[in-house]
């Protein structure tokens, strides 16, 4: 019994981080109908970035987003202007092509730069265990979960209350009309892309407190993100959170009770299930 609870808790905590990762993707998708295939690899890059900053500056992983967030924000903005904007007027296939190209570019470059061996950080102030009711939880995971929730909440507030956030939401509503009206939505798009990418920096920092990073991790993060996105649908921050938690738990249970190799399998089956039953996602409003 304890085992089950332990696995569920672990799943929930990872799920929180997944939700954070997908939040950025969901905003980008909602606003400009672009799914950044390279999103999982942005996470991977963020993790490497965290590794570099932490190692060079001797910072704790938790503090790295102070540097990595602005950097990744910029990376997002640049990516938008160079890659996304030119292809917006072309066939959708080309838009996908460009982010797929980016995905492989990142992977290949990282492989060359860091070789195949994974990198990890040795120390973080939030390491150690916590005992709660007979369950042992890595404090790094727990704190990461808490931070994820905080950030998600902060983004939610930002989107609903701030001026920039409202502009982003307006752009999302006017997806079809925007091209007619010819409003300068490019800047909003660029900021959106930057924001979505920047959020991966936070997730990356959190992940590095208890995980290692390898050049090919982008793929599994990518798959997880897409499943969460498919479940969450569009326009709902809470949807992303709940979907993230569900996927996290499903993955955790799959690893524990079926086969560690099957974690992707279960996730994919969830994906297909969602697309069969509710193509608009479980929580989408569109």
């Amino acid at each position: 019994m304890e085992n089950l609870a332990q696995n569920i808790i672990n799943g929930l905590m990872m799920g929180g981080i997944y939700a954070l990762i997908v939040l950025g993707l969901s905003i980008i998708f909602g606003v400009m109908n672009v799914v950044n295939f390279a999103h999982g690899d942005f996470v991977m890059l963020s993790m490497y970035g965290t590794f570099l900053v932490a190692t060079w500056l001797n910072w704790d992983a938790i503090a790295t987003p102070l540097i990595t967030f602005p950097v990744m924000f910029l990376v997002g903005v640049i990516t938008y202007y160079i890659l996304i904007q030119p292809t917006l007027r072309e066939k959708y296939v080309m838009q996908i092509a460009v982010t797929v190209g980016l995905q492989y570019l990142f992977r290949a470059l990282t492989q060359i730069a860091f070789k195949a061996s994974p990198r990890a950080l040795n120390f973080s102030i939030i390491q150690g265990n916590i005992e709660i009711g007979g369950l042992t939880i890595l404090s790094s995971r727990l704190i990461s979960f808490a931070v994820s929730l905080l950030v998600i909440f902060a983004v939610y507030i930002f989107l609903s209350k701030s001026w920039a956030g409202k502009a982003i939401r307006a752009a999302s509503d006017d997806l079809d009309v925007a091209s007619l009206v010819g409003v300068n939505y490019h800047r909003t798009y660029a900021i959106t892309f930057g924001l979505g990418t920047g959020l991966t920096a936070v997730a990356g920092g959190l992940l590095m407190t208890f995980q290692q990073v390898g050049p090919l991790m982008g793929m599994s993060f990518g798959l997880l993100s897409w499943v969460v996105l498919a479940m969450a649908g569009l326009g709902s921050t809470s949807g992303v959170l709940i979907s993230g938690l569900i996927v996290g738990v499903a993955e955790s249970l799959a690893i524990a009770y079926w086969d560690p190799r099957a974690r992707l399998l279960v996730v994919y089956m969830l994906f297909i299930l969602v697309l069969w039953i509710k193509p608009r996602g479980l929580f989408g409003r569109k």
Binding site: L102, A108, P279
Partner: protein
């Protein structure tokens, strides 16, 4: 069908004749023959991809899934029962088609956004890979080796040749087949429907195009061809492993389809020639350690083509040809007037 003597037809005919005699030019060099066979393999996959990706406008990343299925059906039946790949490869292709329906039917429904198909197709490959690693009886973590045969007749019936040359011709035949399928589709209702829906799905629908059915037909055709190729591929490689379900390879197929020039039937062949040459050049100059570099180049080329020249290598060549053409006829005219 009317045959027009366009420059393209001339090039293709010359290319075909060249392709037919190429292995003879290589002589005993198995390495170059293998290289050429690989070019043909990728060209076939790319040409098949063109049906769903170029004409249908779906960014498919599942070539590895159908390739792997074809490989496993042929490989397993050969290892276990000695069944001839000449027959089982069609079974493999049909099973691949069935698999494609599992993905296509839910994902091509009206109003499901196209990006989900791309994602699902990518995930399909990975999932199959894991499934086959876990499935000990058929797959498993270690490679299974295909049986070898020692007399010419057995080699032929079991498609296990000791030279690459026969495989070269088999794949050449498949490339031609894939090409002809493309041409046929393009001239008929399915082709027009696909091209229309890939540009403006709603407009196509109100003009009577059954969007879902068209996409499914395209997908099934593509899966069939790739499944066939998978059956041949396993015989070439001589071993069977879940790594046949290769996500990177699937992406390469899509890259070929795009870099060649989206929707252009002979595009993937040109792209395959181009890409394999680059890879070989890198390998020769920099050695095996720089494997990652060719992927960087592929990715950059893909991005550049997607942004600047969607008509791809085929389009670039055509532009070059168009620029040279007036100069050629100028020269000819000059000479005529001299005489």
């Amino acid at each position: 069908m009317r045959y027009q003597l366009t420059p393209k037809t001339i090039f293709l005919t010359i290319g075909l004749l060249l392709a037919l005699i190429l292995p003879l030019l290589f002589g005993k060099n198995q390495y170059t023959t293998l290289l050429a066979t690989n070019v043909l393999l990728y060209a076939t996959l790319g040409t098949a991809w063109n049906i769903i990706g170029g004409m249908g406008g779906q960014f498919d990343l599942s070539a590895g899934a159908y390739l792997g299925i074809g490989s496993f059906v042929v490989g397993t039946l050969l290892i276990r029962f000695g069944f001839s790949p000449w027959i089982t490869m069609f079974l493999g292709a049909l099973i691949a088609v069935g698999l494609s329906l599992m993905v296509g039917l839910p994902l091509f429904r009206f109003k499901v956004r196209e990006v989900w198909y791309a994602l699902a197709s990518a995930a399909l490959v990975e999932v199959l890979r894991v499934l086959f690693i876990m499935w000990e009886e058929v797959g498993g973590a270690t490679e299974r080796f295909l049986p070898m045969y020692y007399d010419d007749f057995s080699k032929f019936t079991h498609m296990r040749f000791s030279s690459y040359v026969p495989y070269y011709y088999i794949l050449l035949a498949m490339l031609i087949f894939a090409y002809l399928v493309n041409v046929r589709i393009r001239k008929t209702r399915l082709g027009y429907s696909l091209l229309a829906l890939s540009e403006e799905e709603d407009a196509a629908a109100v003009l009577g195009v059954n969007v879902r059915l068209s996409k499914i037909k395209a997908l099934m055709t593509y899966a069939f061809i790739v499944g066939l190729v998978g059956g041949v591929d396993v015989c070439i490689k001589g071993n069977l492993h879940a790594s046949s379900f290769n996500a990177v390879q699937s992406t390469e197929v899509a890259i070929l389809g795009i870099v060649g020039g989206i929707g252009i039937t002979h595009g993937p062949l040109l792209a395959a020639l181009f890409m394999v040459s680059i890879r070989e050049l890198l390998r020769a100059q920099l050695g095996g350690g720089m494997e990652g570099l060719y992927m960087v180049i592929y990715a950059v080329v893909l991005i550049l083509i997607a942004i600047f020249r969607p008509d791809g290598i085929a389009g670039i060549l055509e532009s070059i040809y168009n620029r040279i053409k007036p100069k050629i006829s100028e020269e000819n005219n000059g000479r005529l007037s001299d005489a």
